[in-house]
């Protein structure tokens, strides 16, 4: 992979959103990925609806949590995603009001990505932002900088938060992943979290996936 990459600088990433008091990170992670895939294939950056997934993905549990793999499947089954403007985020479960005629993007498939961080970086640079899930240890108090908790404290099998990898690089020789979070811009570095890259920190490499747009 190239030594550094940042999809924010290439216009593939929408502004940081805020999931509010709702465990809907899975929906934000997936819409962020689809926004990037759609941008790369169709050339338009659209902010997409998480609320549609909360309300209409019946396999997942809305604010109680969900899985990206199920969300991709729901998007395919429903027939696409509406935009944020058409189906706005409320942060709590509502009756599904998806309107297929308002769907602006579709996906054809979804794929699971390698657990090798070098391969993930290569995939990201060529294919776009990646949906991942991590152990959120320490994130409650994270302010800035590259987070690298000791492995026993941030076990890769205690994964509890879905986010979006949008880039990678090095800061003073420390390799990092640039991670778009969904806790608003008043958290972290303008809403972004920076995590050490190369040691599988906090399980960042365990659940990487992406939608496929043909």
């Amino acid at each position: 992979p190239p030594p550094e990459w940042d999809w924010r600088k290439k216009g593939a990433v929408t502004k940081v959103k805020d999931q509010g008091m709702c465990g809907s990170c899975w929906a934000f992670s997936v819409t962020g990925n689809v926004e990037g895939q759609w941008f790369l294939k169709q050339g338009t950056l659209l902010s997409l609806s998480e609320q549609e997934l909360l309300d209409c993905d019946k396999v997942d549990k809305g604010c109680m949590g969900g899985l990206p793999s199920n969300a991709y499947s729901a998007i395919k089954t429903l027939g696409g995603l509406e935009t944020e403007d058409d189906y706005s985020y409320r942060g709590h479960l509502q009756t599904c009001s998806f309107n297929a005629e308002k769907a602006k993007v579709y996906i054809n498939d979804s794929v699971e990505l390698s657990q090798n961080e070098q391969k993930l970086a290569a995939w990201l640079a060529e294919k776009g932002p990646i949906s991942v899930a991590i152990n959120a240890f320490g994130m409650q108090f994270y302010r800035h900088g590259i987070s690298h908790p000791l492995r026993p404290l941030c076990s890769p099998w205690l994964i509890d938060h879905a986010v979006l990898l949008v880039g990678y690089g090095n800061r003073s020789a420390t390799p990092f992943w640039a991670i778009k979070n969904s806790w608003g811009t008043d958290w972290g570095e303008e809403g972004y979290y920076y995590l050490y890259r190369g040691s599988g920190a906090c399980g960042v490499n365990i659940m990487a996936s992406s939608a496929v747009v043909n």
Binding site: D60, F141, R143, H144, T174
Partner: protein, 257 residues
């Protein structure tokens, strides 16, 4: 926040007492490390939950510990009237190796009623003392129990006395937090409780800071007045610990395209 339904599998579930004894004993052992015989705390009651995933189990325990009477006032850590402690422990059991991830103990002011013994895993009806909990810590595992040890610096963190003006400083930081994040609390009691949570969290953040090997800075955030349990319940996603839902095909790596 609504309580999440507890199911079998990796989600948390209440445990019967025999399953709790091994992690509880380990937590007690860690708590008593370095203490001479006769000065060790004893386990009076324990209850808890477990979350299982992959090769490990994470036990969240609430334990009542009893400190032996302290006869030398120059070395007593607690006033005589506060010999009972209510502790929260998180014990990780990975492939049979235990590790203490979190310890949070505070003295109990009132008498314990209805508490059973460790054998019957009775549930203690206790009123925890509201205030700062300087013992709140991420504890080092025994070098025997893990390949990575934090023992070189954590004991210092755990034993460093808090500065005398800790409460005053903390109140000032909390006031700033309330203003910055526009917090309102319904009652004075809630405000006091939130401030104690905030103070505990500042100690936790400091310890997370000490254990971070990167360049990250931890401190006050908009989540600083939430307990760990509240934060997990409201903002995190326990379903991710379960088996992945739908199986997806593996992507070709870009080098082989």
């Amino acid at each position: 926040a609504p309580k999440k339904p507890r199911a079998a599998g990796p989600q948390a579930r209440e445990l019967a007492s025999p399953e709790l004894l091994a992690p509880a004993r380990f937590a007690l052992e860690m708590y008593n490390r370095g203490r001479a015989a006769g000065t060790r705390a004893a386990l009076r009651a324990v209850r808890g939950r477990v979350r299982r995933a992959g090769r490990g189990s994470l036990y969240s325990l609430k334990a009542t510990l009893v400190e032996p009477p302290c006869n030398d006032p120059t070395v007593c850590q607690l006033p005589i009237s506060k010999k009972t402690l209510l502790c929260s422990f998180e014990v990780l059991d990975e492939l049979g190796k235990h590790m203490l991830l979190r310890r949070d103990c505070g003295p109990v002011d009132t008498k314990v009623t209805g508490a059973g013994t460790a054998q019957d895993a009775g549930r203690a009806q206790v009123t925890p003392h509201v205030g700062f909990s300087p013992n709140s810590s991420l504890l080092e595992p025994s070098p025997d129990d893990t390949n990575e040890t934090f023992s070189s610096f954590l004991p210092l963190l755990n034993k460093d006395p808090l500065p005398q003006d800790f409460s005053v400083k903390m109140a000032s930081i909390f006031k700033e937090f309330v203003t910055t994040y526009n917090r309102t609390y319904d009652t004075k009691e809630e405000a006091r409780w939130r401030m104690s949570v905030f103070a505990n969290n500042m100690v936790r953040a400091q310890k997370i800071q000490a254990l971070d090997t990167g360049t990250a800075r931890y401190g006050v955030t908009k989540f600083s007045d939430l307990t760990e349990e509240e934060f997990r319940t409201i903002y995190l996603n326990p379903l991710l610990q379960e088996e992945p839902g739908r199986k997806m095909r593996l992507a070709k790596s870009v080098s082989s395209l």
